[in-house]
């Protein structure tokens, strides 16, 4: 029975448990108890290390490779000891200036202590494992988790922490505070669903959603269709293809603010299209979408399409180029008309490109903000408001954080409603295939 228990796994497990306890203690849950528990577990880990050593029985000369790693962990332990002693009471006696850092150090100290203990344990276990593993064919569990690709694991750690911090913790924090009555600063005073009630009773929010739906549906369909058509046309061994590609892609180099401003001028009745047509003699010609509440969102859509389709075209063109020329030849021999080849063969083959494109377009739709700000500032009235603008305005303009959080939570929920079944379908398909 005992042979089935892997002391090495127990060792790693207990260190992780100790770390979890440490974090809980730091957050503020029963610090005294948990901290002593944590040291108890670390002591158990030490016993486990000794057990591993006894189980190993015969010791050999440690392999060079592992000795270096073990020494590395010892050096790390020295560093963390140095950190730990920084601003400790006894150090303060020697350098009174360090008293300044006392407050930071209070939260910092248990981690440094923990790191010191764990690093020494790691070094110890590597010495033991290294002396034993030199005889084994396959690196043991400890060696694999502590030595193999260690530098890449360490290098990835900051990004992993950042990603978790931004995407998980910040999201949870936002959702949590949407249930409070936070105004200018976040507060933890719960008021239930009141912010959501207010949100769903607001005309402005309804208008935003309606606009987003129109903008989203149109921009999705039109950028896909126009982008694919342009790509398909450019793929016909067009002369000056590079020139055309550059021209189509140029708008993408402009920021949304500039795009919005340019299109505001184009659609402005006093400077733009209406003025030009009128100066040609059509005096009664009217074309001012940005001042018409019913169609203002299409004015914004035009600017969005102008900016985005070039990029979609480039993605599609790359996808088309990735298709084997012999497929085209085979289809011609089989007598399939060109449009049918596109629809039934080429587009299904470009599925991955389409999914990438879809994600890019969808992200662009959800975050549309600056285009509206530059073109209409949400006007006339509230007729061109969008959710992202609602969130921004409430968070930083109206100083009603919780309302902004409630709106952004709703946006997140709607994205998830679309995204979860979609991912499920995608991954489910791949497993079946």
């Amino acid at each position: 029975m005992l042979t089935k228990v892997h002391p090495e796994r127990l060792f790693i497990g207990s260190i992780m448990l100790a770390f979890a306890l440490l974090i809980m203690a730091t957050v503020g849950i029963k610090p005294q108890l948990l901290q002593s528990l944590q040291f108890l577990i670390l002591f158990v880990s030490l016993l486990l290390v000794i057990w591993i050593g006894i189980k190993a029985g015969k010791f050999d000369i440690i392999t060079n490779r592992l000795r270096n790693r073990a020494v590395g962990w010892l050096i790390a332990a020295t560093f963390s000891t140095a950190l730990w002693s920084f601003a400790h009471k006894s150090t303060q006696l020697v350098f009174p200036a360090l008293k300044e850092f006392r407050k930071i150090w209070n939260t910092f100290e248990p981690f440094a202590l923990f790191a010191t203990v764990v690093f020494i344990l790691f070094a110890l276990i590597l010495f033991i494992v290294g002396s034993r593993d030199s005889k084994l064919e396959r690196p043991g569990f400890i060696e694999r988790s502590l030595v193999h690709n260690l530098s890449s694991k360490i290098a990835a750690l900051p990004m992993v922490l950042t990603a978790v911090g931004v995407f998980v913790i910040a999201t949870l924090w936002t959702v949590y505070h949407s249930f409070t009555n936070s105004r200018m600063l976040p507060k933890s005073e719960f008021i239930g669903l009141a912010q959501y009630e207010r949100l769903w009773n607001s005309d402005r929010w309804y208008m935003s959603i309606e606009n987003l739906a129109i903008y989203g549906a149109c921009s999705l369909i039109f950028s896909l269709v126009i982008g694919f058509m342009l790509a398909a046309l450019l793929d016909q061994k067009t002369r000056f293809e590079n020139t055309f590609r550059t021209i189509f892609l140029y708008p993408f180099a402009l920021s949304f603010i500039v795009t919005g401003l340019v299109w505001q001028w184009i659609l402005n009745p006093d400077y733009g299209v209406q003025k030009i047509v009128r100066s040609l003699g059509f005096d009664s010609f009217v074309f001012n979408p940005l001042y018409n509440m019913d169609i203002v969102i299409y004015g914004i859509l035009a600017a969005g399409l102008w900016q985005g389709t070039g990029f979609i075209m480039c993605l599609m063109l790359a996808g088309l180029r990735g298709i084997d020329q012999e497929i085209w030849k085979a289809a011609r021999i089989d007598g399939i008309p060109m449009w049918k080849t596109y629809i039934q063969i080429v587009i299904p083959m470009m599925r991955p490109v389409f999914i990438t494109t879809l994600v890019i377009i969808a992200a662009g739709i959800i975050k549309v903000y600056d285009l509206v700000v530059a073109q209409t500032s949400g006007g006339p009235g509230i007729s061109s408001e969008v959710p992202a603008k609602y969130v921004y305005d409430y968070m930083f303009g109206a100083q009603n954080l919780a309302q902004g959080f409630a709106a952004s939570t709703m946006m997140l929920v709607s994205v998830l409603i679309v995204l979860i079944p979609f991912t499920y379908l995608e991954f489910g398909r791949r497993k079946n295939a």
């Binding site: 084997d324 012999e326 030849k329 085979a330 011609r332 021999i333 089989d334 039934q344 083959m349 295939a433």
Partner: protein, 361 residues
Amino acid sequence: MNSIEIKNLSLNFGDVKVLKDLNLTIEKGEFLVLLGASGCGKSTLLNCIAGLLDVTDGQIFINEQNVTWLEPAQRGIGMVFQSYALYPQMTVEGNLSFSLKNAKLAKDEINRRVKNASEILQIEDLLKRKPAALSGGQRQRVAIGRALVRDVDVFLFDEPLSNLDAKLRTELRVEIKRLHQKLNNTMIYVTHDQIEAMTLANRIAIMRDGLVLQLDDPKNIYNFPINKYVAEFIGSPGMNFLQGKINNKDNVSFQIDDTLFELDGYNFQTIVEDKRPVWLGVRPENIVVNDGNKSMPVNFDVVVEVIEPMGADTLVWSHFNGHEFRFTVDGNKVINIGEKINLGFDPLHISIFDFESEDRL
């Protein structure tokens, strides 16, 4: 009756002349292989016949009908590609029936043809699978099947076996040959692999720089190459070439430095004058190692330098008068490096090429 006739075909890409005034006649039921190094225009010619490339000049007839400006689908051809070019999102059955469905054939007829083709190619078990779930050999079978269901007179193969590994290649090669014997269709097959060409073809067209150098059956191409390029291209290991001149004093003979090879028995195409510089080409497999008695009309000595055992026979590398000289001996024969060996050959099996023009003399 001619199945395919190509008259004065030219094709230019801009200033580059890929095919130059090419003429070719292929009989019904013939298996023609277009052979050549890459860039010689063989695939281009096949694409022209298929109608995938527009010709610059000339005409193409298939079954006595001028198809030069017809769409590929209307020419009555089926084509098999190097990369298989299967439609990846359709099943094997879908791949086979797609062109027929598109041509609005009756359902029974489609089923009959798909069943027939899959029986011939032994892919009945694979009909419900997608190309991604097939091996290379199976994919190529499906690709052949796609040409087969169209019930056409002419099959075009564009290096169909080049993406397969060596073992599968030999297997599928035989199958293509069986298929041809069974169907008796006209087949045009493009390859750069001379073994494929030799084994499959009724006739081989060796191409270079957009021209057909020699169009003949495999045996004649092997034995009587029309010029030095063809001689070098066909045969593995390649032909040996010795540079010398003709000595026409009493008997016609080949002179290299001070050595004279009597050329009694060699069939000269023209009368060759004295002292004309020539290449003498002799295939490694036509060299005989003499054990004491000199059985061949021409005999000479070489020193063994490198030995490459290949199982059935052994390839030996040496030098003769400064020219690299290879010959094959039986695999069981014991040969030592540094050994001096007496070799012989029959002038009947050699080729003499002019030094300048490299044409056969």
